[in-house]
Symmetry: C2
Subunit: 393 residues, 2 copies
């Protein structure tokens, strides 16, 4: 899309700002496409929102009214996930924890049952797959469910993956393909000139020159310095608190697949972990674990799966979902030559990583954005720029 | 009570097995009395039950039917605590967190209110101090209490202390008085001969010779090796899970004094910590933090003090209360010359530490056991020895 600036040769073709699951996936795909890639991560790779993420891949169970283009995107992303995981496992020699186990959404009172039924009909009307089950049928699938579960809907195509395992695998895959992963390397600002990006300057003063900068910096992507106001995108953090329970001698892993209500979800892993999440909070850049959130999550989970009481409460945590004012992804070319955005993935960063990575690697090698991503380009904020955080609920 | 054995001079006068608040307090008092003292602690000093303990000093609020001799003991212990804390602070130059703030027991439903009233009358009949308060009066004292609090009883003489601060202070005081604190030094077995104790053997093979051995090893005191069966005492662990909340910008410290119901207690510290405990569980030597216990504690606390929801959930933990079959302390000479027991302190180890320490230091220097401790001597288990753990609920 543009040549190399006259003043200097780039030290690298692409700098990816942010080493979460999005940035690492982009780096891997871009390096596979033949580009020289450097990923600059402020802390440890995968230690931000990715570290907190449960890894649900749930285009059907997460499908909501009035979001047809987002549903189409999520479905396309889910289709890509299996091949992505297989390729990543082969490239890295590491597991990703990808499991095609389906997701069971249940209701424990009449309000929840009616809401679930409305949502089920809506999803069927879109041609999505789902099977309505009685309470007894739910308990046949998942014997740990409480007697109070009235019924549910099984989404056989909604799978899950272990985001921390994906990070480990991506770390190896990046290394194998020769991409550079800089950790503990916060980007202080973008370096621009002649109406285009020239590189980034790190907090320690080092400058990385590159023709292309991909900003995959999660919730802080909107605050990056060195950009003219019209080239920024509005991203805010939406806090999610999440728990990791662990099977014990007294309390075995109670679930075989993802179980959820409208209040919580529980994602089982084969190592005995049960991930229980997640709150949705507008609190700015705050990752404090609060008593109230832990109480809520445990209470919701206990009502549906009483056996969790005997599990170890092994880890408390919080992450910040990078969120646009319309809660939709921001992927595509920015308002400055050489600048690409890959943020705003909200609740679906893990699910969308393979699709976003392929799309961004495509942009970087001269291909157009795939049609599923067209509604989500950064350009939609160009006419009425909003400062980050202005759209808080 | 006996001379030095002929075969060797003791390397030290007294070995104290266990470096919790009991063992450290004994070591301090014994060294002050002129004895050469070595404390052998398996892990880090104060890292066991002491580390989990909330530090309530509540002879009145904990007074229960049919336990008059234990109540007398606890009252005597509470009287000693103020002077002990003052002396320890002076000797160490460190704070203990001792606060004379009183304890407010409240009721949030009619059953709890009736039980509280029965207990209040019983305690008044023993001459204990307590003031019955309406819900409104409770909220005047503690504005963070929920509207559903129906009433309460204020025990103005039930105070609290910070057990971790006490451990830090004892560490300095021990050093100042020349007592030796060995950490990471598990005792493998007692060394006996000629019908008396001769010392202890550590796990690393070292032998510490001493005329007197004080076993203050908490819940594992009953399992110590090298003792003839008739010289053992039955002690089992009673697990207590406990939470540490912490004030945040959004959630300040809600309480000014200890608040409790029959289900939980909350102990405020001036650094913004709120300690919420504790479960009572018969689980053997298990210190797993479970989802069910955290849920229960948070739910109980939230019902009474809704403001806890905004506090940080800063620490989860569990401790093992050393517990005799009759749930009463075991303090005094053992059934082997030179052997002294100081265990079984159950829920009251911090409260009883000053009194037990003074009594044991007295025994070691030829004084009789104080009368308050007479009902709690190890001899009560001599006629019908029970193996450790046999009295589990």
């Amino acid at each position: 899309m543009s040549g190399t600036p006259d003043k200097k040769r780039s030290a690298t073709d692409v700098v990816v700002v942010g080493g979460g699951v999005i940035g690492m996936s982009i780096g891997w795909r871009a390096a596979q496409a033949g580009l020289a890639v450097t990923i600059a991560e402020a802390a440890t790779a995968g230690s931000g929102a990715t570290h907190a993420a449960a890894g649900m891949l749930a285009p059907v169970t997460e499908a909501d009214f009035g979001e047809q283009d987002l549903i189409a995107l999520n479905l396309a992303a889910a289709e890509r996930f299996g091949p992505f995981a297989e390729e990543l496992e082969a490239a890295s020699g590491r597991p990703t924890g990808y499991r095609r186990a389906g997701t069971l959404a249940v209701a424990i009172d009449r309000d929840q049952a009616e809401a679930l039924e409305r949502m089920h009909r809506f999803r069927l009307s879109l041609g999505l797959e789902g099977e309505r089950l009685s309470g007894r049928e739910c308990r046949r699938l998942e014997p740990a469910l409480a007697p109070r579960v009235l019924g549910g809907v099984l989404a056989p195509g909604d799978h899950h993956v272990d985001p921390r395992a994906v990070v480990y695998a991506l770390r190896s895959a990046l290394s194998a393909v020769g991409a550079e992963l800089l950790e503990g390397a916060p980007v202080r600002e973008l370096v621009t000139g002649d109406g285009r990006v020239l590189g980034v300057r790190l907090a320690d003063g080092r400058e990385l020159a590159a023709d292309r900068i991909v900003i995959a910096g999660g919730a802080s992507a909107g605050a990056i310095e060195g950009l003219p106001a019209e080239a920024r995108v509005p991203v805010r953090p939406v806090k999610g608190q999440i728990l990791r329970l662990r099977a014990t001698a007294a309390g075995p892993q109670p679930l075989g697949r993802v179980v959820r209500t409208e209040d919580f979800y529980a994602v089982p892993r084969e190592d005995g972990t049960l991930v229980v999440g997640a709150t949705m909070e507008e609190r700015g850049f705050d990752t404090t674990v609060t008593a109230g959130a832990v109480l809520d999550l445990l209470r919701y989970a206990y009502e549906v799966v009483p056996g969790i009481a005997e599990l170890e409460l092994a880890e408390l945590g919080a992450g910040l979902r990078p969120t646009a004012p319309d809660n939709r992804p921001i992927v595509g070319d920015g308002a400055l030559e050489g600048l690409v955005w890959a943020t705003g993935h909200w609740r679906n960063g893990v699910l969308l990583a393979p699709l976003t990575a392929a799309a961004v690697a495509g942009l970087l090698t001269g291909q157009p954005l795939p049609y599923e991503l067209e509604p989500f380009s950064p350009g939609r904020f160009a006419r009425s720029p909003q400062p980050a955080g202005s759209a808080s609920a």
